[in-house]
Every structure is written in structure tokens, then in C-alpha cells.
Symmetry: C2
Subunit: 412 residues, 2 copies
């Protein structure tokens, strides 16, 4: 069946979902969790098939790790569904109505966006995470996962659909496209008016392709070339702790630091921070002054400053005060998360006002840019675009609004 026909089925099914109350959608999420647990054996068998084929294709070890499921991971996915059920329902919410001089009452009500298309790589957990957030927010979801996880995704989607059925909701609110060819993904990108929003999740090249090709609106998630600028007046113990945390606590994610900017006034501190990083196994790429101060650092190429390593590699550069830091960030930031460490009030204010990014930090690790850490309960990704949603994308960002206008016969 083509992407178009599948999307139309989701669209039709979503119409009734949009009218379900919170209680029924939450019941469905719990039924989906139960169905996942009940289908555990099927899912694990399917996953073994995927892993077997992936090993035959010599897929990288890190990808195999993301692909592999076990009972604990399936329980984690089911718990994720239950956690989303426990969140506040954004749908139907009206933050307030105002009255116009002519007596009209006007308010903005949160409603589902409609049909969300997910294009993602070989992480089977995205199948259930995305479905959880979409169902909670009243949206239908058309899933197109990577070929490496197709058997796992199919087994998971079957379980999720069974959960919907048990809760009396049309199972077509969740549909997985079993054809994993590029043509199908491309077809999805052309379904304006049928798919309302496309969310790509995966590596930079997948996201770039979708952003550049799609005619359907796209929510651009997550490349993060994040900086930490250590100001001359920083608490250096704090700066060291924040820098090490931002780089090393989980280097593979988008909110980790790629470049450390050190104020020229702190030249003497460079060997200490470099040593701390090196002790954690971090490979250092430095500007000439950093390389001179710490001989183990390699010279950073011009490309290095724009690279999201997602690994234990760090650029370090000396900059000329706040202005130097701001210019570097302006020219190299992907506008994800940017941090200053300082004790100076005016400098902190200037950094906040002048840095253009989804999240601007003072004296905290950029690793906090995350829906859970921000208090949203769950997220479907971090938006690095400016329109519709910026930063962690939670349930509220998966909704739109309609204006209600209540009158007693007003004419104009």
C-alpha cells in the first residue's frame, strides 16, 4: 500500500481520536503498554531477526546497541507509555478567554495538529515513544523507521495497535510503513494536506535530506554544536565541573558540548582543563595558543569548529573576552544550547540577550536541554528551528490552536 493511502487511513482514524476524552486516550496508552508486555516474545524474536541481518550487513557496533532489545528495554518502553499517560492532557485547554467591547468572547483552544509523520533510523524505541506522545496529544502517526529495525518495529507497532483496539480506538491512528525504501520516505515528504507535520529523527544527513526535500512542514530536530564559554570572572572550579560534565557525561547526544571557549585572561587555566579532559579520554583539538599551552592537543582545522563530534572529542579555543565568544558562537553555533560560566552580572545579562539559540545557559551544563530535565515529562526531540517550536518538543508542541468566538448575534 502506498504512503499516500496509509496516510489517508491515519487521517481518517485521527478524526475520531481527536474527539476522544483524556480518559479514553490514557486508557489506550495503558492498554498499549500492556499489549507490549504481552507481545514481548514476538518482539524479541523479531528483534533477533533484525540483529542477525544487521550483523550480516556488518552494521556498526553502536548501531547494534541501539537496535538490540531485551525484556528490560521492552519494560522501559511500556513504562514510557504509562509515564506519558500520567502527564497533563494539553488537548481542549483554553488558557483564558477575553471579552471584546462588543461582547464577543474569544479564546484559544489547544487541538491536535492532525497527522504526524515520523521518519527515523534504527531505534525501535522511537516507535513506541513517538506513538505515545502522538496518541496522548490526539494526533495520528504514520511511522517510517529504518530498514535495520523493520521486524522489531513491525512487532512493536502490531502490539501498539492491539492496545488501541482494546481501548476502543481505531488502530489506524498508528500505522507503520513496512516498505523501508527511500522512495516511500520521499513520498511522505510530498503529502501536503494529508500529513500535517514531519519529524525526522536520526543523524544529521537524514535531517538535512528531510528539511531540504519535504513539501510537508518539518520540525527540524537536533544537530547540536554547543559551546561553553568560560568568562574571565568565572568560578574556575565550577567551570571545570560544568565543562567536564557537558563533554563527558553523554557525548553521543545533541546537548553535549563540542567546543570550549576560554577567555584569554584564563590562559594559565588551559593546561588544567585540558588535563582533566584528557584524563577522561577526551581527544583535544585546539587553536594555536591552546596547542602551545597543552602539547597533546591537536591543531583544530577550520571545519572542526562546525563539527558535531558526538564523541569524546573537544575543540578548545581562546577568545578575546565576551565579544570574541559571541562572534565565535554566532559563526559556528547550530543554535541549540549555549552556556556562559561567569560571576559577573552584566556579562551574564549580555550573554543571555545576545546569544541566539534554543537554550541559553548561565552557570549550568548544556546537558539539561531535554524535555524531562525541563519538566515537560517527555519529548519527541529538540527543535533547532525558530518556527512553531524551539527547544525540547513535548506534548504542547504537538498541538495547534483554534480560536473560539462566542457571540450573541454580533455583526460587523
Amino acid at each position: 500500500m502506498t504512503a499516500r493511502l496509509l496516510a489517508l487511513r491515519v487521517r481518517e482514524a485521527q478524526r475520531s481520536l481527536a474527539l476522544c476524552g483524556s480518559a479514553q486516550r490514557d486508557k489506550a496508552l495503558h492498554a498499549m503498554a500492556d499489549a507490549m508486555i504481552a507481545a514481548q516474545d514476538n518482539i524479541l524474536v523479531a528483534n533477533i531477526k533484525d540483529l542477525h541481518l544487521a550483523r550480516d550487513k556488518s552494521v556498526a557496533e553502536t548501531m547494534l546497541d541501539r537496535l538490540a532489545l531485551d525484556a528490560k528495554r521492552i519494560e522501559g518502553m511500556a513504562q514510557g507509555l504509562r509515564d506519558v499517560a500520567a502527564l497533563a492532557d494539553p488537548i481542549g485547554q483554553i488558557d483564558g478567554m477575553w471579552q471584546r467591547p462588543n461582547g464577543l468572547r474569544i479564546g484559544k483552544m489547544r487541538v491536535p495538529i492532525g497527522v504526524i509523520g515520523m521518519i527515523y533510523e534504527a531505534r525501535p524505541n522511537v516507535t513506541s515513544d513517538a506513538a505515545a506522545l502522538c496518541i496522548k496529544s490526539g494526533n495520528g502517526v504514520l511511522l517510517r523507521g529504518g530498514s535495520e529495525a523493520i521486524y522489531s518495529n513491525t512487532a512493536i507497532a502490531t502490539a501498539l495497535r492491539e492496545g488501541l483496539r482494546q481501548a476502543g480506538i481505531d488502530p489506524d491512528c498508528i500505522l507503520l510503513i513496512e516498505d523501508t525504501s527511500r522512495e516511500v520516505a520521499r513520498d511522505m515528504m510530498g503529502l501536503t494536506g494529508i500529513i500535517d507535520l514531519l519529524i525526522p529523527r536520526g543523524g544529521a544527513s537524514l535531517i538535512k535530506t528531510v528539511v531540504e526535500t519535504s513539501r510537508v512542514p518539518v520540525l527540524e530536530t537536533g544537530t547540536g554544536v554547543c559551546h561553553t564559554y568560560v568568562h574571565a570572572d568565572a568560578d574556575l572550579d565550577m567551570a571545570l565541573a560544568i565543562a567536564v560534565n557537558a563533554k563527558c557525561s553523554r557525548p553521543s547526544v545533541c546537548n553535549s558540548m563540542e567546543t570550549l571557549l576560554v577567555d584569554k585572561a584564563l590562559r594559565d587555566w588551559v593546561p588544567m582543563v585540558c588535563r582533566a579532559m584528557a584524563d577522561k579520554g577526551v581527544v583535544l583539538m585546539g587553536c594555536p595558543e591552546v596547542c602551545a599551552a597543552f602539547p597533546d592537543a591537536q591543531p583544530a582545522t577550520e571545519d572542526a569548529w562546525d563539527t558535531e563530534y558526538n564523541d569524546l572529542v573537544l575543540n578548545i579555543r581562546l577568545v578575546n573576552g565576551l565579544e570574541g565568544a559571541l562572534v565565535h558562537i554566532r559563526d559556528h553555533s547550530t543554535r541549540h544550547s549555549e552556556c556562559i560560566v561567569t560571576r559577573d552580572y552584566d556579562t551574564s545579562r549580555a550573554f543571555i540577550n545576545r546569544v541566539d539559540a534554543a537554550a541559553v545557559y548561565v552557570n549550568a551544563s548544556t546537558r539539561f536541554t531535554d524535555g524531562g530535565e525541563f519538566g515537560f515529562g517527555a519529548e519527541i526531540g529538540i527543535s533547532t528551528q525558530k518556527l512553531h517550536a524551539r527547544g525540547p518538543v513535548g506534548l504542547a508542541e504537538l498541538t495547534t490552536v483554534k480560536y473560539l468566538v462566542l457571540g450573541e448575534g454580533q455583526i460587523r
Copy 2:
């Protein structure tokens, strides 16, 4: 100079605008208004040139009316600039910060989007209206108006830029592209990363072209195939007044009614509403039952139900209760503004919940879908898309947010 180079100039200039306080931006708006008045003669001479050329090209009378300026219209444009200055500043606003268990304080601050591209037709007032809203909201604007108004637009933009200069703001925050070829518009649509948002204003075909072609995010404004459904339990005097107002008060605009849906139970009322419309000069296109009840009505073709007439033409159709109305609206609405007239509480609730549109009305004319009427002070158009902004687009919708995260050394 190419669109790209001009857009880069706007982008550079906008950086300093984003850091101006409210007072300086408001001062600039007043200076722009004064400069418009001071340049009145230049603008009128330029406008005569445009009108002259337009007449030679046998441009339609309605377009000439939109193109023509006089002292009163220029004063109106200047007043528009002053009115926007008087609105509350959205920039820098933080609606509240919350504290996480680890002590981090997080808030969302409104910031300018960046560079807005406007592609519009032969209405010189759009030049100053768009500039007013963009400068107030801290955005730079690259204007590309229609060829028919090029001399008027150039004279207006020159005055607006002079106002910026007098207020100490880089005049390149407002740039008009003097080349009105299609290629230039097309170039603008490819400037991802330089133009942040494109707003097309004009006829349906212009908007369609931009939506389908642009790689830059687009704010889709305004085609309105708006419906009014008169429920069996309606107050018929109210229904008549609302229907006549929705069709006749200003038929050329997007929030006017194109189709009146009458409940089958009100079959006997059809001749009365048809007569009232005909008396106002409205040409009626009816379903077979309406044509039988009112012989002056012409049979509506299948296309008629999807047509935005923008004129004194109205489709009328009998529908089978609320369900019949909802199906018709679902299949033919452009999701702009939809109205029900009823005295029945449950029916009003069902209509509100089930109609998918930017604005849903109970017992009031759809003509109120307008930034001014909603209390926003001004608008740049009515969005009929679901993402980022839906309904009247005012100052708030011309902003994005950044998260501020304030810590005391928190790491994860």
C-alpha cells in the same frame, strides 16, 4: 543587487535591531510616520507614475483602487505606524519562570524571528504595514512588492528607511527589492538560513506558488472559503442578520462567507434569506432544493463549493442537520472561519469541538476574524496553516522564543 545580498544586508542590520530597547524601536516607528508625511509629495508623484503605467496595461479597476494613494491614505499609513508603536512590546517578555528540583530556573523569553521576507501584490500600504509590525517585533524585513506598485513602494521604503536613520537604527532593517521579476521572488524562496520566514500576501495563486516552491518556511495566509451553518434551532432573525453581514459587509476579504448551509428543517426559510441576499445584489448559486425554492438561484457546480468568490456571489445548500453541515465543512472548508447559528447548547458544543478551522464561531459573523477585531491591535494576515501561528498573525506571532536556564553550577 541580488536577493541574496540584500537579504544578507537585512540580516546584518537586524542583529543590532534585536538589541534595541522598546523605546528606541517605538521612536523609530514615529520617525517613520513623520518621514512618510514629509515625503508625501514624492510618494504621490511616484504613485501617479504607477497608476499611469497600470492604466496603460489595462489593469482592472479594483486593482487600480488598491494601488491609488492620496493624502488621506498616506496619513492612514502613517497613523498605522503610530498605532503599532503604541502596542505592547512582545520582545523580551518572559511569561514566567519555573524552578526545577535541582534549583535550575527556566523560562521562555520572546525574541525576534530574524529576517522576514514579504512577497506581495500591488498594495503599497502593505509596504508600511509590514515594516511597522516587523520593526516593532525586532525583525528585519525584505520586501518584494508587485511591479504595478514599484514606484510607490520605492518612495515609501525610502521614507521608512529615512525614519530608521533618524532614530539611529540601521536603515537596512527595511530593504525593498526593486527588481520585480519572478526570478527574484524565486531566489528569495531559496534563501534558507538567511530569510527566516516568508509571508506571501495576495491572491490565491501567489500564495499557492510560494507555499509549493519555497524552501524557506512560509506563513500561509488567507484563502477563506468560510461557511455559516444555520441550525434548525437558530434564532432566524439573528441568522439572517449574521448571514447578510458575513456575505455583504465586505465581500472582497477572506473572512467573508462563501457558502450558507441551511438545515433541512428550515426549508421554508430559504426563500426569505435568498430574497434578502438578492436585494443586496448577491448572485445565488444553489443546490437543487434551493434552486427549486428560489428560482432566481443558479445551479451550483461541484467547483462552486470550493470557490472563494471574494465577490457578491453566494453558494446556498440545504444540509441534513449538524452531521450534514460538518461533512460539508470538512470537505470544502479552507479551515479559516466557520460559524454556526443556533440556540441549542449541545449543538454549539459539538460544532466547536468538531470543526477544524482557525476560528470557530457561535452566533457571530465570521467577519470578525481580524487582528484588530480580536484585540491584537494589528495583523500581517490571517494564517490558515496549523504550525507556528493560526488565525490573525499579530506581533506575538512574529516572534520566537529562547529558553533561559539560570544555574549555580548544576551538572547532570
